[in-house]
């Protein structure tokens, strides 16, 4: 009986001490500012660059960084619009170039000082598009395994060859940014009518229109398809993580589209100065290197990838940057794609 009572006293006493310590710690933490950063789940997950940036920033900022999963960019935009200042977003990450028009409708953004950064030429063209700043980018291309393909295709029409029948993984353009990029790429190089005619011919070649990049790429890594629409930096992932040099991105003569990711500071930010400092860290050499190594995308700023496996990515012919078509225009194209896909 004595042992039992003593045991209960020790456990409850220990819990009391732990609860008191936790309350003290929480009180201390609540007295310092909290920088709220909304980002994609891949950015803020333990495998993404988020946790490192948080740790690095908290060393000097006398603040706490809290990450929030922004989920889909449209949902995030609606959330920012509805919640405004009460939502408390200080930094928002993960919008692409197609979101720029949407996010400036009814939302104000603080300008970010980007003078003095040595951006890649591909990035410089999008820096002044909006108050948001690109923090990484990559070129989209079809990836293949050298061991499965004796000769790589070098033009879009090569995808219609019989060996690729049912062996191409693409993304659904209605739900995935790379999927939309592919459709707009076709329209840009072939013209709308010919592009949709190409899409019709491609139906038999495509194994699936996955709702996301990861769904399509998963089919490629599992060997269910011969190729997937991905990034020229995807082979670097296989080289670094798996020591596998079999994966390559094919260069097409038409030139390749580019995908950018942007960071912005909403006008309703509560800790705007801290947000500016966080973006500075994001664009600093250490921040850019971390983003490059975790996201497997190119850094926006030059002088980072030298001496890393990213430097070995060959130079691909890219399409010159054109401001994305309007949201209404894209909606019309997507409707047409949906109708054609249903076979109406």
């Amino acid at each position: 009986m004595r042992n039992f009572i003593l045991y209960l006293i020790i456990v409850f006493g220990g819990l009391f001490a732990a609860v008191s310590w936790k309350a003290q710690r929480d009180q201390k933490l609540s007295s310092i500012p909290v920088l709220k950063v909304f980002g994609s789940s891949s950015f803020i997950s333990q495998w993404g660059p988020g946790p490192w940036l948080k740790e690095e920033f908290e060393k000097t900022c006398e603040c706490r960084v809290e990450f929030f999963d922004g989920a889909d960019s449209t949902i995030l935009f609606q959330r920012l619009k509805v919640e405004g200042r009460s939502g408390g977003a200080d930094v928002v990450l993960g919008f692409d170039q197609f979101d720029l028009e949407m996010i400036q409708q009814g939302l104000e953004w603080k300008p970010i000082d980007h003078a003095g950064y040595n951006f890649f030429p591909e990035v410089s063209s999008v820096v002044n598009l909006s108050p948001l700043i690109p923090y990484n980018w990559s070129i989209l291309a079809f990836v293949f395994k050298k061991s499965e393909n004796s000769s790589l295709p070098n033009r879009l029409d090569d995808l219609l060859k019989p060996e690729f029948k049912g062996k191409i993984a693409l993304q659904d353009p209605r739900t995935s940014s790379p999927g939309l990029q592919f459709l707009l790429w076709l329209i840009r190089v072939k013209g709308e009518e010919e592009a949709f005619s190409f899409v019709r011919k491609l139906q038999n070649q495509v194994s699936t229109y996955a709702p996301s990049w990861s769904g399509a790429y998963g089919q490629f890594t599992k060997g269910q398809v011969l190729t997937a629409f991905s990034y020229v930096t995807s082979p670097v992932y296989h080289f670094v993580e798996e020591k596998n040099q079999d994966v390559v991105a094919a260069e097409f003569v038409e030139g390749h589209p580019i995908q950018y990711e942007f960071v912005g500071i909403p006008g309703t930010c509560k800790h705007c100065d801290l947000a500016q400092k966080f973006v500075k860290l994001l664009l600093s050499p250490v921040g850019q290197k971390m983003i490059m190594e975790k996201n497997y995308m190119f850094p926006a700023v030059r002088g980072i990838k030298e001496g890393t496996p990213f430097a070995s990515v060959p130079k691909y012919k890219t399409l010159t940057f054109e401001a994305p078509s309007s949201a209404a225009e894209r909606e019309r194209i997507l409707k047409r794609w949906s109708v054609q896909r249903r076979g109406d």
């Binding site: 042992n3 039992f4 045991y7 209960l8 456990v11 409850f12 819990l15 309350a23």
Partner: protein, 160 residues
């Protein structure tokens, strides 16, 4: 065959499988307690709010209902503290095999309370736990792979 069926009551086996179950249940309670400790269970009246919401629909004795209304719901902080403390106590006791018998009886009482407060869908779950605590107390599960064996050897008695 029928004679063997009744004769088998004399069969004496190892307590190792029971010790495995005990440690597993201990780990389960540790997980529960840590979740509550790390979350806001101790700082927000989640448990008592749930009880207050369910009270009108609960089919429990009136004295117990009165006890919940007058003691548990208003003193939610103390209640939450006792619940987390009890779960930690059960966790350490079952993992270490220390004071397992009296703790199993407390666990039985705890599961009985949860059974009365739970929705019918969870009733089977809590009944299973009541049975497990009962067996732990009955066999003195801490005597195998547990600290209770040390005391059982020296002192005997019902506590070990």
């Amino acid at each position: 065959m029928f004679a063997s069926f009744f004769e088998s009551i004399k069969y004496v086996g190892h307590l190792v499988p029971i010790a495995f179950l005990r440690i597993f249940i201990g780990y389960y309670y540790l997980h529960l307690a840590l979740e509550k400790f790390k979350g806001d269970f101790l700082s927000r009246p989640r448990f008592s709010a749930g009880i207050a919401e369910m009270l009108p629909s609960l089919n429990i004795p009136s004295w117990y209902k009165h006890f919940l209304e007058s003691q548990v719901v208003p003193h939610w902080q103390a209640t939450a503290f006792v619940i987390v403390g009890l779960e930690f106590a059960l966790a350490f006791s079952y993992i270490l095999g220390y004071v397992t018998r009296p703790m199993a009886l407390l666990g039985l009482l705890y599961s009985l309370n949860l059974l009365m407060l739970s929705e019918p869908a969870f009733a089977a779950f809590h009944k299973t736990f009541i049975a497990i605590h009962f067996v732990m107390a009955w066999v003195g599960a801490g005597r195998c792979l547990g600290l209770d064996y040390y005391f059982f050897k020296r002192r005997r008695g019902v506590w070990w």
